[in-house]
Symmetry: C2
């Protein structure tokens, strides 16, 4: 691994830079790309912001998101440096992975634990709550100023990857960085409203239905709910409108495993798992051919909804 | 108004101190009472922690909450100093208001805008995100140490009154204070799980009902919901189980004012207001004899529920 000072040295010598995050982009990778890109522009570099997948609607309030080249579009350009942000493995570059076959300098900056040394220059710090934290330190090393635009992008990165400074990854340093970003003159209320308080009405209607369908095991440690396709259709709800519903189930006192059954097509269900603090739900999903992380995983099952629920809940109860 | 240094001087001379927050206590008043109480105990004072109403179950994870004397119980004690925290008016002291008739020193510390000069010594700072922020400065002035117990109480105060550092009242100073509390060695993940991810099942059942009763104005800028007493009784739900429901209504895209009508006793309603970013709902509550903050206020109204809703929603629409 290289030091962040070495990375800064490499970037000072770059001229035509492309920056990219991972597939299915989130606030941390988009904010990190936008912030570091703006800093390099300040330094007179020719900068291209890229993303293998489109920017989700929720980040549309940030003007800079309109500057991202999406999918294979950036492949037609010529660059001397490729900065890869928040990607644990090259596969997470999706359509832009082929850039790694070109003859240029590769810089990989990430906070995910893993091998992470796939580029020429690598800086991985899994104690950082977000890649945005590392980018902020790097911008300081580059002696670029934290402008208002950069501060907004970095605040989005920090806030979204820490669940608004609630998750385990949040450190005193994270909060101090957020304080400094606020001092740079950002309107954090405007950012937070756009990130957390502008939900389409249909999300609350789907939530009502999910609460109505919610069940809990006699021991109180497993809770689950479901939404069928016809209900979603009748509300003109899209899949993205069910995002986060499972977290509501997890917030029940005493519940360790939350499960959400969402009908994708008739008789085919996306089953999502979340655990609070003990159970490894990656193993649970694995029993049904799925996978994921320790606290968040999923699988796809086909059949009769009641049969699927019975089988999956029984397996979850065995993990308790 | 007095300076915080003057307040510190008064407290240095106190011997038998009672501290109390407001009726229907929240994380800020409970955390502030607990933290300042612990600091004064460090200084060798005889300290009584009090609350006019019981401590909500959600704060039960904090061992110090078991030390609070509830309702009229503390009235049998003798004190030389009464510290009132987070109470905008004496009426918010509920069953403990009669303490103000005694012959002792009264100290009032608050972050709510208002007359606020009802005590002998008053310190009001409405730029503070939480009364806990003022208490933290005061503890520093008293040269008492921020112990682990004090840090936990203050973190609860700051986090709950800022919606986990999201609301408009959050300043760079709030985040720096939270960072310092983390550095004092608190386990913030444990606090956050207990505050936000251990909700009694009944809260989700009340939420389901509130979503079912939710209405939105044709312009989409005002949304409201209600819960009647018989529904709450049938679920064995207490008042505290309706806390935060209004915030869900506010998160609807396009909604500027959220209103929640909760029946306290037959025909008597607590009406709560929240605004997103423009409307001063303190003025709105003021029209009905209530008060509060710019973004969060409330009042109490008696009469027919439909009539009250019509009147209040019409007044809210006028503010848009």
């Amino acid at each position: 691994m290289n030091s962040l000072t070495e990375i800064a040295g490499v970037l000072r010598n770059s001229r035509k830079v492309i920056l990219c995050g991972h597939v299915m982009p989130d606030g941390d990778c988009l904010g990190s790309v936008a912030a570091l890109g703006a800093a390099l522009e300040q330094m007179g570099k020719d900068v291209t912001l890229a993303s293998p997948d489109p920017v989700p609607e929720i980040y549309g309030f940030l003007p800079v998101m309109g500057k991202f080249l999406i999918g294979e579009k950036p492949l037609s350009g010529e660059y001397d440096t490729f900065i890869i942000l928040d990607c644990s493995v090259p596969e997470r570059l999706g359509k832009l992975k082929s850039l790694l076959e070109r003859d240029m300098v590769f810089v990989n900056i990430d906070h995910h634990k893993g091998p992470g040394d796939f580029a020429g220059y690598n800086y991985i710090d899994d104690s950082a709550a977000a890649t945005g934290e590392i980018v902020m330190d790097l911008i300081d090393l580059l002696n670029a100023g934290i402008t208002g635009d950069i501060a907004v992008s970095l605040y989005v990165a920090l806030s979204t990857d820490t669940g608004s400074f609630q998750y385990e990854n949040t450190t005193p340093g994270t909060l101090k960085k957020a304080a400094r970003l606020m001092e740079a003159g950002i309107h954090s209320t405007w950012i937070n409203i756009n990130l957390y308080e502008e939900r389409p009405l249909v999300i609350l209607r789907v939530m009502e239905k999910a609460l109505e369908n919610m069940e809990i095991s006699p021991c109180g440690k497993v809770a689950w709910t479901s939404i069928d396709k016809s209900t979603l259709n009748s509300m003109a709800a899209r899949d993205e409108h069910t995002d986060g519903l499972i977290n509501i189930v997890r917030t029940i006192k005493g519940v360790e495993i939350a499960i959400f059954f969402r009908e994708i097509t008739s008789g085919k269900f996306k089953v999502s798992f979340r655990s609070k603090s003990r159970v490894d739900v990656r193993l649970l999903a694995g029993k049904f051919g799925g996978g994921g992380h320790v606290r968040a995983s999923g699988c796809v099952l086909e059949g009769d909804v009641d049969g699927i629920k019975k089988m999956v809940v029984a397996a979850a109860l065995k993990e308790i």
